[in-house]
């Protein structure tokens, strides 16, 4: 998009020290790729100088190799949009917060922290938001392993295909084998 290209030029002129690149894939939109440690500075500049007053979306993406965070900024008076993206290593994802720039970033970053385990440096209140506080793991990561139970509550359900299995039916009718199979599955 032309918006993004124009913004890339403006940003490169204003912040010459930061290596910025316009990237795009085969389809869809293009975005400015920003080194993770500079994201707060870049967005701060966009917010204060270029009038991008609205954070439309902040989301984490796990490509399998790396974590990414996509920022969709918008300027309400100019009706323009700018997409930014950063890449983070999977094992030690730390990124400066932008919660001081946008009020809404507070919760957006909490969500990304909760679901991807990205640590936002300088965030005032980085707690889990969707999952319980004692939840283990970050569910939206590609390598997330589903837990079999939570506080003794089993999270496993029979496979619907098993229910169609005539043998399974037989198990359900006869109580004794059923309890056996249950013990087998939980232990």
């Amino acid at each position: 998009m032309s918006d993004v290209k124009r913004m890339h030029e403006t940003l490169s002129r204003a912040l010459p020290d930061i290596p910025l690149e316009v990237e795009s894939a085969q389809a869809g939109m293009s975005w400015i790729h920003v080194p993770a440690e500079h994201i707060a500075a870049v967005i701060g500049h966009l917010r204060h100088t270029e009038g991008f007053d609205y954070l439309a979306c902040l989301t984490g993406i796990d490509t399998g190799e790396e974590l990414q965070i996509a920022y969709t900024l918008r300027s309400l008076p100019d009706k323009t949009e700018c997409a930014l993206k950063i890449s983070l290593p999977r094992d030690e994802a730390v990124v400066p917060t932008i919660s001081h720039l946008y009020g809404v970033a507070d919760w957006f970053e909490r969500e990304v922290f909760d679901l991807y385990g990205v640590h936002f440096d300088g965030h005032p209140d980085l707690r889990r938001i969707m999952m319980p506080d004692d939840w283990e793991g970050h569910p939206l990561r590609k390598d997330y392993v589903f837990p079999s139970e939570y506080h003794g509550i089993s999270a496993e359900r029979p496979d619907p295909h098993d229910l169609l299995d005539p043998e399974y039916e037989a198990c359900a009718v006869d109580p004794a084998p059923k309890s056996d199979s249950k013990e087998g599955s939980t232990s």
Binding site: A25, A27, L55, C57, D62, K79, E81, L115, P132, D133
Partner: protein, 377 residues
């Protein structure tokens, strides 16, 4: 489990859990309040009780199969979930949606907006103790639900749209019935206003209450009616045009401080009332100017969009509903993300609520029109 976030610093305060089961949290939300008498000193909204991991499910489901899940993002305005997802996939695929399909989508969405706003204003009246307006709103809503049933066979979770259009055309005669309803509806709104909007107690409860300044509203990412009632003239339908909206005449309703101030609870209420009339206008235009043609573009049975990402956004009844879709070229998305109006509206609570009374909080919360499943997804 969750540690106590609100510490008793004042010595004279009470910690109260408003929710997860509370009549006016509109779903399963826990508002942890620190009260001084009846005045709220601090609030900590705790969400996540309705987290159904729709985004994770999206990564495990083929593109067309994910569509019914989008209904469940916001069950009160399921059409918008459908549309934002379809728009995202269509943009990745590069599919051109037929004009008639776009019109039908607009009709469905605007009818959906009407019934969603009816619920919003009705529950808001109920939060203030007036039960009757809610059921009057529900009566109209039921009528529209009947239309929805005739449009797509479902009353709440529509799953109406398909990637590339809509599955079937309007049934004959339905457009006349909808037009007839719109005539009635435009008389209903004044009746509703006589019932509750102009009620002095109602007005006094809401004016000058919980004023969200425009700067705060923008910073907190409020969107839709909540943003506009703070005096920010921004509507995705007009300012980030999508679907067939550029072809329609409509007014973007902003809070004008008809009574009280711009950005107070009454402004938020009033914007919704006005928007219903605007939606009715759009539906009327769309029905009268419905173009001929197909209702669905040719889309391959197996949908594998090329590698890429896209952010599509629609003006849902609860504000901007966005879908950030990342494709890795496979049958399933790499990432589906829903940005919802309710989620961002919740972030404004800690800023505005301290200093309000408990009764005001219910009014304020009602005026934000938050739907719990939409927060948690």
């Amino acid at each position: 489990m969750t540690q106590l976030i609100l510490e008793d610093q004042h010595g004279e305060t009470t910690m109260v859990n408003m929710g997860p089961q509370h009549p006016s949290t509109h779903g399963v939300i826990n508002l942890r309040l620190l009260l001084q008498g009846e005045v709220i000193a601090k609030i900590d909204p705790i969400v996540g009780f309705l987290h159904r991991s729709i985004e994770k499910l999206g990564e495990m489901t083929p593109y067309p199969g994910f569509l019914p899940y989008t209904d469940r993002v916001d069950y009160l305005s399921a059409m918008f979930g459908n549309q934002v997802y379809c728009m995202a996939v269509e943009e990745l695929l590069g599919v051109e949606v037929p004009r008639r399909a776009e019109y039908l989508r607009v009709i469905a969405c605007e009818l959906n907006r009407i019934i969603s706003h009816l619920i919003a204003v009705g529950t808001m009246a109920m939060d203030l103790g007036a039960f009757t307006p809610f059921l009057h709103a529900i009566r109209e809503r039921e009528t529209v639900n009947d239309f929805m049933e005739r449009i797509c066979g479902a009353r709440i979770n529509y799953s109406y749209m398909r990637i590339g259009g809509v599955p079937r055309d309007l049934e004959p005669g339905l457009d006349k019935d909808i037009l007839k309803f719109l005539d009635r509806f435009e008389k209903f709104i004044p009746e509703f206003n006589r019932l509750i909007t102009g009620n002095e107690i109602f007005v006094r409860r809401l004016i000058d209450l919980a004023v969200i300044p425009a700067a705060d509203a923008i910073s907190c990412g409020l969107s839709g009616p909540n943003l506009r009632s703070s005096g920010v003239d921004y509507d995705l339908r007009r300012d980030r045009p999508y679907s067939a909206y550029p072809e329609f005449e409509f007014r973007v309703v902003t809070g004008e401080g008809y009574r009280g101030q711009t950005g107070d609870c009454y402004a938020r209420y009033w914007v919704r009332i006005d928007e219903m009339l605007e939606s009715a206008k759009i539906v009327r235009q769309a029905l009268l100017g419905l173009p001929e043609g197909d209702v669905k573009a040719k889309v391959p049975r197996k949908i594998t969009p090329p590698k890429g990402e896209v952010y599509s956004a629609v003006e849902s009844s609860r504000g901007e509903m966005g879908c950030y879709l990342v494709s890795d070229g496979g049958e399933q998305p790499l990432r589906v993300r829903f940005r919802t109006g309710s989620f961002t509206a919740m972030t404004v609570l800690p800023k505005i609520v301290p200093g309000l009374m408990v009764a005001d909080l219910t009014a304020f919360f009602g005026s934000l029109d938050v739907v719990a499943p939409e927060i948690d997804r």
